[in-house]
C-alpha cells in the first residue's frame, strides 16, 4: 500500500525510469477503487432505484417514471416541497442577516483577537448536531426558557405556542444551528477586500456608509451568496431538526423522504424524492458559486 502511495505521488525523474508501465494503472486503480465502489456505485444505484416501483413490499425492477409523476401530481408532496424550500430560504436569509454583522465585526479586529473570536464562532460547528437541536428545543418548548422569560417579563400572560412544535420552531432552530456556517464564507470574502480599496473610496470623497454600501457589500456578495447556498443546502437536507422540534405541523421534505424508508417503506419513491432534493441542492450550489466567476475578481 505504502509503496503504491509513493509511486503515485512523486514524479519519477528520468534517471529512475518506471520499472513497469503498469505502475500508473495500478496507482489509478487503487486511487479510484474506494470512491467508485462506495460513492459512485451507491449514488448510481440510488438514481436507478428512483425508476423502480414497489409492489406488496417487494421492489419491482421495471423502469418507470411513476414515482416522479406521483410527486408532481399528488396534492400532498408538491406543497410540502415548496414550503420546505421557502422555509430553508428564510433560514438562509436569517442566517446571513445575523452572520454578516458578526463577520464584519471580526474584520475590524486585529491579529490574535480576530482569530480567537473566529475559532469561538466555529467551535459550535463541530459540536454534536443532535445536542444542539436538543439544547435549542429546551429553550423553545412550551415550558422552555424563552416562554418563561417572556412570562417573567410580563410580555405575555400565558405560554406562547407560536414557536412550539411547528414550522416556526424549525425555522428558529435551524437558524441558530446554521449561523456559524454563514459566518465563515462571509468573513473570508470580507477579509479578502484590500484595505486600499476602502481607502481609495474615502479618498474619492465617500462617507463610511457610502464606502460600506458601494464597495464592501458588493465585494462581499460572492461570500454572502455562497453562505446562503451553504445554509440552504444544509437546512433542506436536514430531517433531524424538523423531527425533533417540528411536531405534527412541521412536516418537511426531508422528513417525508426519511419516512419512505421507515414507516411508509417505499424505497423507490423515497429515492425519487431524494433525486429531486439532490437537484435542488445542485441548483443552490450553482447559484451560490455563480457571481464569483462572472464578475471581475480582486487580484
Amino acid at each position: 500500500m505504502s509503496s503504491r502511495v509513493a509511486d503515485a505521488g512523486v514524479e519519477a525523474p528520468a534517471a529512475h525510469p518506471s520499472p513497469s508501465r503498469l505502475v500508473p494503472w495500478f496507482a489509478a486503480l487503487a486511487a479510484y477503487a474506494v470512491p467508485i465502489w462506495f460513492v459512485l456505485a451507491p449514488m448510481a444505484l440510488f438514481l436507478g432505484y428512483s425508476f423502480f416501483s414497489v409492489d406488496k413490499g417487494n421492489i419491482v425492477f421495471t423502469p418507470t417514471v411513476a414515482n416522479y409523476v406521483r410527486f408532481f401530481t399528488d396534492p400532498v408532496f408538491l406543497p410540502i416541497f415548496w414550503r420546505t424550500c421557502l422555509l430553508c430560504l428564510a433560514v438562509a436569509v436569517l442566517c446571513v442577516l445575523f452572520a454578516f454583522p458578526v463577520a464584519y465585526f471580526l474584520t475590524t479586529l486585529r491579529g490574535r483577537r480576530r482569530y480567537v473570536l473566529l475559532v469561538l464562532l466555529l467551535v459550535p460547528l463541530l459540536m454534536s448536531y443532535v445536542i444542539k437541536i436538543y439544547a435549542v428545543r429546551s429553550i423553545l418548548g412550551g415550558n422552555g426558557m424563552l416562554n418563561r422569560a417572556l412570562l417573567a417579563t410580563g410580555l405575555i400572560d400565558k405560554p406562547s405556542m407560536l414557536f412550539v412544535f411547528n414550522l416556526n420552531a424549525v425555522l428558529l432552530t435551524l437558524t441558530v444551528l446554521l449561523i456559524p456556517f454563514a459566518v465563515l464564507p462571509i468573513f473570508l470574502s470580507l477579509e479578502r477586500i484590500p484595505k486600499a480599496l476602502r481607502h481609495a473610496s474615502a479618498d474619492l470623497g465617500a462617507s463610511n456608509a457610502q464606502t460600506f454600501w458601494r464597495v464592501t457589500v458588493p465585494l462581499s456578495l460572492p461570500g454572502t451568496l455562497s453562505a446562503m447556498s451553504f445554509v440552504f443546502v444544509l437546512a433542506i437536507g436536514d430531517f433531524l431538526t424538523p423531527q425533533m422540534v417540528g411536531g405534527q405541523s412541521g412536516f418537511t421534505f426531508g422528513r417525508i423522504i426519511y419516512s419512505q424508508f421507515g414507516t411508509a417503506f417505499n424505497w423507490p419513491f423515497g429515492a425519487a424524492l431524494s433525486v429531486i432534493l439532490a437537484a435542488v441542492v445542485i441548483i443552490a450550489i450553482r447559484l451560490g458559486g455563480r457571481v464569483e466567476s462572472s464578475r471581475g475578481r480582486i487580484q
Binding site: P194, G205, R295, R297
Partner: protein, 366 residues
Amino acid sequence: MNEAGVLLKLRSVSKSYGATAILHDIDLDVRDGEFITILGPSGSGKTTILRLIGGFTKPSGGEILLDGRDIAAMPINQRPFNTVFQDYALFPHLTVEGNVGYGLAVRGTPRAEIAKRVADALELVQLGPLGKRFPAQLSGGQRQRVALARAIICRPRLILLDEPLAALDVELRRHMQSFLKSIQTEIRTTFLFVTHDQEEAIAMADRICVMNGGRIQQIGSPHEVYYRPSCEFVAKFFGENNLIPGTLGPTDGKTRSIDTAAGRVICAVDGQPDMAAAPEGSPAFAVCRPEAVTIGDDAAGENRFPVSIGQVAFAGASTMATATALDDPGLSLKARMPSRPGGASLRPGDTVTFVVPASTCRLVPA
C-alpha cells in the same frame, strides 16, 4: 498669513509607531501647480508623508496646513486631495466608467454630468473606448490610466501619487513618465509624486525632496540636487560621483578652497551660504560629477589631479575611466567621456591628469 503660491505646508511634522520614529521634524511647502517628487530609498519615510497628507494616518506631532488651517484631524473623505495608489486600488466590481465616476457619484452629481465628465476624463487619459471594461480585463498601463482619471475627475487641489509606476516594466514606465508629466501640464494641478527611482524623479519633477532616515536631506530642482548636493547622502544618491575628503580652507565669497590629501581643491560656493560660512578647518568633501572631469595636460581648469588609470569601462554612449590619484593612493576618481567608435585611447596603467574646473566642483559637509 498664507504666502502666495503655497498650497500646503508641513511644519515640524513627525510620525512614530510606538517607539519607532518614522519621520522627524518635516518642513515642506507644496507650491500651487508644481510637480513635486518625494524621493528616497525604501524606509526613508517618503510614503508616510504622502499618507499623512492624504489622511490615511495621523501625524504624531506638527501641523499640516491647508490655506493656513491645520488639517491633521480632517477625515480622508473631506480633503480636497485625491490619490493614485501604488497598486491602483481600482474597484474590481465596477467598470472603468464606474471607477472613474465614483468620486462624482458619491457626491450626488447628476448622472448626465457624471457621464459627460467621465467621457472627458477617459478621453484625457486616452482610454475612450474601454469604459465598459472591468479592471481585471485591462493591462497594467491601462489600469494606471484609469487610476489617474479617477483621481483627477473631482478636480482636486492636489493629486498624490504613491509610486504609481513601480509595477510597470521599464519601457512602459518611461512612456508613462512623459504621459503623466503632459497630463499635469494640461490640467495644471499640483502633483505630489513619491518614488524611489532617481531617474524618474529627475525626469518628471519641478522640485525634488530627497528623504533619508525619516528626514528631508535636500529640496531643490532636479538640476540643483544633481549638481549642487547639500550633503553626502544626496551627493552619493544620484548616480556616480567623486567625493574627495578634506578640510575647509579660506573663502573669497564665490569660491572656497579645501585641503585634501591630493592637494588643494578650489570649489564654487555661490548659492551655498552654509558652505561659504562654515568655519575653516571643518571636515568636508569636494564633489564633482565624472562628466565634469576632462582628461589631459592641456585641458583648462583650476583643479588638476595626476592619476593612474585603473579600469576603463565602455557603457554605450559613454565610457567611464576609474583612476587612482598619484598623490593619494586611497583616493579613487572617476571620469566619464563620450565613447568613440575607435575605442578609448586610455589603457589601464596610463598616467594622465584629471582636470576639474572650480565652477563644476562643489562642497558638502562631511
